[in-house]
Amino acid sequence: MPEYPIEPDKLLDAADILCPAQVGRGRPPYTAHRRAVSTAYYAAFHALTERAVGVAFRHGDAALRQRVRRWVAHADVATVCRWVSGLQGTASPGVPAHIRTLLVPPHGPSHIDAGAAVVADGFLELYEKRMEADYDHEAVFTRGDTRATIGLARRVVSLVGAAASNEAEVFFGLIAMQAQVRSR
């Protein structure tokens, strides 16, 4: 039976097609830039859901994991990323006290590593850019900015795929814990 999974690397390739590295002269295809930004965001989002569900269902088969990945909402990922960024000082410090104590214990090592911090900041940037791309008629997507956004998504996907630390497991696990069991 054929399968058509959502693959982050393939989404990044699609973003590259929509806004290629090499182009000729002429007016930039702004609509294609919007779709490239949105597609790049989804690459990062699906890379994160794959790891989050992998932490929660370590021995689940591929079909189970694919189904459960649909339960992870965009806001679930964004919430955890805001906690991490807030604790790193790169977002508003409105981190719940129990999350602060959990991730940065007053008398123990931090559970946030540099990779998670870059992924969190990167995801939040992509999350905002995707909303602009999909909904904001006044947003401007230059070629350089669109290429930079694709580059950021590629970096986030790479870091997410390679992350193997205990801190990374905490990060992915928290995303899984934010998700709710759904009927879909």
Partner: protein, 97 residues
Amino acid sequence: MTEEDGIAELVEFAQSYSSSAVAIKQALVSLDENQDGDSVTRVALLLTEPHGDTWEVDDIIEMRQALRRRATELSLPPVTLTLVAESERDAIDAFAQ
């Protein structure tokens, strides 16, 4: 500090930001609300032309983190960037409108 003061300080910080790879020629900052209804600080930066199709990922990550950290210190909402190369500088005028 008022929001206007914070915005002015963030503009000043951005325009004085320098790294070996990226130079900011102009910065425009405005407060807005995103599709979720959350406040955001939109920052448009006119940058020196990249060597290739865009700027190095690590340089932009470093610059973004510096701006996000400064915005947090100034009690401004999270920063989202729009990068504009000098060859596309018409776009920065669109942002300013």
